[in-house]
Amino acid sequence: MKTNLYFRRVAVIGAGLTLFRRRMLETPQELAWEAARKALDEAGLELKDIDCVVIGSAPDAFDGVHMKGEYLAHGSGGVRKMVSRVYVGGATGVMVPNTAWYHVASGLCEKVLAVAEEKMSPARPHPQSIFRYIWDPILEKPLNPNLIWIFAMEMHRYMHVNKITKEDIALVSVKNKKNALNNPYAQAAANITVDDVLKSEVLVWPVQLLDTSPVSDGAAAMVIVSEDVARRYTDTPVWIEGVGWTLDNTEWTGRELAYPRYLEYAARMAYKMAGVERPNKEIDVIEPYDPFDYKELHHIEGLMITKRGEAPKFLKEGVFDIDGEIPSSPSGGLLGVGNPIAAAGLMKVISIYWQLKGIAGKMQVKRPVHTGVAQAWGDLMQASTVIVMRN
């Protein structure tokens, strides 16, 4: 049953992506412009038609430019318009359409351009060192932490509690990199085997190189509009039916890491709004956030598509394959397409939009699809954003 909230219906009518690559020669603004222009073209709109602009970007430090919202504004079409920047770490990509949703749903705007951009390559010697500044300066930074530490700690806990092997988890990387072969924007598409993953460089055990997504640059954009506008511009709008977002506390050391509780809260919010009562039966295609392979399984459980600890079993049975019952990351996900943080999250939403509109080309899943879910996650394992869309 849907909630009683009163708001306007909101639709997506256009989307654009740049290639996801390491060391793009374009500036962040040029990348944002390219994605935004493509989204406007698909929607059949011009910039003068746009009322407000939402910009999403993860820490300023990656691009090496402070105040990224203002910096990106002209490339994103935001000059002399209502512009807001949202930032919830890795969860930013899905927070961008969520924010555009409430701009339109509230009646404030008719047509919103939602843009996400990230350029991770500029940092020397490696963007990894930039992550040092997200740790607690007094109790964590003196231990010289590397960001992959926390993911490895979460992955190992997940494996221990649910008795999951590295082989089970590596299957996600194999699936997503293979799906990405169909994606013209992908950076890390490949035909690999479980063995390749297990033999790749050990970064922070149990995380190995092929368990992770690459360092990337890229941008993504969407045009999000009210129902009246959508009806005028397209016969096949894709509706945003539910949004959800939650933060857990920063004390990741003091809570159970085996299950993403914050995601369950965000998913419940989005499902309630969309009237989804049985996620495993009603959702046809999903794009869970997969910067690491275990994360896709973790998030499938948090989205309540399976019970806790059961995602690997369904994965092995092929349920999440592109021709399976609930295809997961048909785009290739972050593992296959690449991980320009905020842009990667929005890419997941765009993938669902293309699937529901039926224009995903070689990425199109085999079964007919009606309801899709995209999700992102970030910060010190605490932020999650969810979006439910229907055609």
Partner: protein
């Protein structure tokens, strides 16, 4: 266009901005962390308890996240606990390869129970071998803090946590 492949020598040719900004930060430890750091100097691990929900905060917190009221009392927890999770890092924080892996993890300190969702937990080094991490035998093991001889009131006053049984 297929991205921008570069060799290492190409990277030396491009203009990179190298400078050390004279930006220094003096972080405030606040009431809770100050007491915690002073406690470490005395080989004590100090936390705060919220008497409304019973939650014990280690590292301490002057307010309870959930009840949104002040926490009520200082308590000393044991320097012993259970290994919640443990990993072995083969890369430094700048992503350079390191030969001898660094073993770190989370310790759920006593008093706490197996089923607690939130608990007093500390992120620290664990003195163990890569093999123990790899075969997952460290999970659930009881560990105790190894204190440094000279303590200055820093998280590094604890050398690491060592398995005791």
């Amino acid at each position: 266009m297929d991205g921008t492949p570069l060799k290492e020598e190409d990277l030396k040719k491009v203009n990179t901005i190298v400078y050390k900004p004279n930006a220094k930060y003096a972080y405030s430890a606040g009431q809770a962390y100050s007491k915690f750091l002073l406690g470490l100097k005395e080989k004590k691990i100090i936390g705060r308890r919220c008497n409304k929900c019973g939650r014990v905060y280690v590292p301490p917190r002057m307010y309870c996240d959930d009840c949104f009221r002040p926490t009520d009392e200082w308590i000393e927890v044991k320097d012993e606990g259970i290994v919640e999770t443990v990993v072995a890092s083969f890369i430094s924080w700048t992503r350079e390869r390191i030969e001898k892996p660094e073993i770190v993890g989370v310790i759920r300190l006593f008093p706490s129970r197996d089923k607690d969702w939130v608990f007093p937990g500390l992120f620290h080094r664990i003195c163990a071998d890569f093999e123990d991490v790899k075969n997952m035998s460290l999970f659930g093991k009881k560990v105790k803090a190894v204190w440094k001889e000279e303590r200055v009131g820093s998280i590094n006053d604890i050398e690491c946590f060592r398995v005791v049984e």
